[in-house]
């Protein structure tokens, strides 16, 4: 399983420099060690202190680290330090830094976390640096009529699938409706080996179910996002569809932590369909050898009746109010949103430009696997911009787990979830009743 180790190869290269304290006990080596320490210290003092602190997450942080030299060349004497956070703890780290009064200058913030930072008055409003942002992406950053944060890349979910196996099952392309897709998944299962599944839908990821919910006409929150609305017939229909995928053994009941290496496993046919985002374009290209690149393809989401909507997510670059380097921070954001950098970000990560102009440039225009994303971006729906959204989505995921693994009936599960969501939204209701803006004046704002 040589390729199984691939995702972690990069980090292993940075190890070293340990075991120093053990050596200090040997007197002969003490002088050498002092010299080494001095050398290390000198290497440290030769580098200037950080002129701009930027926090980013995962692969985007790695990409930023490779893109900052260009910015530093344009701004001589400024050193940009990029910290690499993990998605699972990024919001916690940012909120802690804000609470402690020590945030970075600029940070990459997921769309879902943006409203929390706005609620905290932690970030400054910015004038949009371009006029060609995707409308929905820009709308996500709009609070009280001003724009907080600049859309950096957009993200929606589409089907990643294996055309070869789909052909063997007798289909030319993925279905456009839920009903047909179910038939297709059942047909695919017949050509698979034992232990392989037509669909991967990790039970600890809420996005797939979120997409299914967004495809329904009725939102999951009601009365200006004051109460849960999961007991609505349309969400229950979405949940029943989700449940049937597991009940019919079309998808395994596993979490993403139980994957060895998603890309390698998909190439082997362990899973034929996976609903995921654009970063996986980059990951598939990175972790599969060139001769296996023809194995996978992308397609827009099927819907309850005809082509379905998907969610709109993404990341924004925000500037913190406490930053003493506002001008430099703005320059950094402008630099990263230029065509060249948007294309470079796509090349490094597969992240989709938040502006339209880079899409007609060669690397993006020529990419067949991007087509599904371009189509899907015309059929997206943003989520409710409230600080509680992340908690509500995780609550929904836990409820879905109870349904899928625990056998809890759909009706009881959704009623229970509404009760829980209403409790989480109690503070928000109280604030809105008092006319407080902190809960987000966008409550009354209608979604497109």
């Amino acid at each position: 399983m040589p390729r199984g180790d691939a995702p972690y190869r990069g980090s292993a290269a940075h190890s070293g420099g340990h075991g120093v304290s053990r050596v200090t006990r040997v007197p002969v080596l003490r002088n050498a060690l002092t010299l080494a320490a001095a050398a290390l210290a000198c290497a440290g003092c030769a580098r200037s202190p950080c002129g701009l602190n930027v926090w980013a997450v995962g692969v985007e942080a790695s990409a930023l680290q490779r893109m900052v030299p260009g910015f530093e060349r344009e701004h001589p004497g400024t050193r940009v330090c990029v910290a690499n956070l993990a998605w699972s703890s990024a919001e916690a780290r940012l909120l802690s830094a804000v609470a402690a009064g020590d945030p970075p200058d600029v940070a990459q913030v997921g769309d879902t976390d943006l409203s929390t930072l706005v609620t905290l008055h932690a970030i400054v409003a910015q004038r949009p640096v371009a006029t060609d942002f995707f409308t929905e992406a820009l709308a996500v950053t709009r609070f009280h009529g001003r724009y907080y944060g600049t859309p950096w890349y957009v993200d929606t979910r589409v089907l990643f699938y294996l055309p070869g196996i789909l052909h063997r099952a007798g289909y030319r392309r993925p279905a456009r409706t839920w009903r047909k897709w179910l038939q297709q998944l059942a047909a695919v299962r017949r050509v698979l080996k034992p232990g392989q599944y037509p669909l991967l839908a990790p039970i600890n990821e809420y996005e797939f179910l979120e997409v299914l919910a967004l495809q329904q006409p009725v939102p999951v929150l009601r009365d200006g996002d004051r109460y849960g609305n999961f007991a609505s017939p349309t969400f229950r229909a979405a949940l029943r569809f989700y449940k049937s995928l597991f009940a019919q053994r079309l998808a395994p009941r596993i979490t993403d932590r139980q994957l060895i290496n998603l890309w390698w496993q998909m190439a082997r046919g362990d899973f034929v369909f996976y609903v995921s985002g654009p970063w996986n374009i980059g990951e598939f290209r990175r972790f599969l050898p060139p001769q296996d690149q023809h194995l996978w393809m992308t397609a827009p989401m099927p819907g309850p009746r005809g082509p379905g909507r998907s969610l709109l997510d993404g990341s924004d670059l925000v500037i913190f109010r406490r930053s003493p380097r506002q001008r430099m921070a703005r320059a950094f954001v402008r630099y990263m949103l230029a065509n060249a950098q948007q294309v470079r970000l796509f090349e490094l990560t597969g992240d989709l430009p938040a502006r339209r102009a880079p899409w007609i440039l060669p690397p993006l225009a020529a990419d067949r696997k991007l087509r599904a994303f371009r189509v899907q971006l015309g059929r997206v729906r943003p989520f409710q911009k409230i600080p509680e959204w992340g908690e509500i989505m995780h609550g929904m995921r836990r409820m879905a787990e109870q349904v899928v693994i625990g056998g809890l009936p759909v009706d009881a599960a959704t009623t229970q979830l509404d009760r829980r969501v209403n409790y989480w939204l109690a503070e928000r209701r109280a604030l809105l009743a008092r006319g407080d803006n902190a809960a987000g004046a966008h409550a009354a704002q209608k979604r497109p």
Partner: protein, 291 residues
Amino acid sequence: MKASTALLFVIPALAMILLFVFIPLIGVLGLSLTDFNVYALANSANLHFVGVANFTHLLHDHAAWQGVETTMTVVLVGVPATLGLSLVCALMIESIGARWRGLFRTAFFLPVVCSTVAVAIGWRYLLNTRYGLVNRLLAAAHLPTPNWLGTPGLALLAVTVVVVWKGFGYGMIIVAAARREIPDELYDIARIEGAGMTQQLLRITMPMLAPTLGLLALLDAAGYWQLFAEPYVLTQGGPMGSTMSLLLLMYDRGFRWWRWGVASALAMVLTVIMWLFAWLQRHTRAAWRGD
């Protein structure tokens, strides 16, 4: 003069404890009586005193009770398992020749000094449903290959196994040291009196080791109540919250959803449980010293 010198030495440590333990503890107690959340962070006018509302909320919170159940299960299963394994391994390495002793002692102790996160990631691979070594061996023996980390009961079992495997080496070293303290004369006399191996074990070794084992049980139990890293890496508390320990739940409520009122109330509950263990430990030690 002597007392003041002693005080001089104690003050730095006391100051540290005051600064980093007692003051935060009072802060947490204060927070647990408020509804501190993300809105309160934005505007302190949104911070309210709610009395014991957070604690009564916890009483009716299914997740909190599940957290108690999960953590207790790990304690009740994990502590005897750890002790048993520590004891067996300690007696084994003390009875084998010096040539192999070092090797086994190092091998059994190795998990203790390994990074918990690295160890948990390793176990995640071992327990993988399709490619993991555990299921491969089971398949080779024509046994069912379960979905270890995706089935509630099994996931908790897996977490417990990892915790025990990671911790028993520490107890082993302590027990082995205690075993070496038992005078050889006792065994010589026992042999002359005609006691067999089993009788020597039950009448000499076990009674002499009892105080050590009791202390270890308390230390292990106190440690397992604070279970966090293993489920965090292996399962993130899932599936269905079956591996959500109290500490993990507190982290979730506090750092993830920023509900510091409820999270602090949970922290206070844990603090009381920990104090209980500290008290038990002191008193049992005193009792053993007494006789």
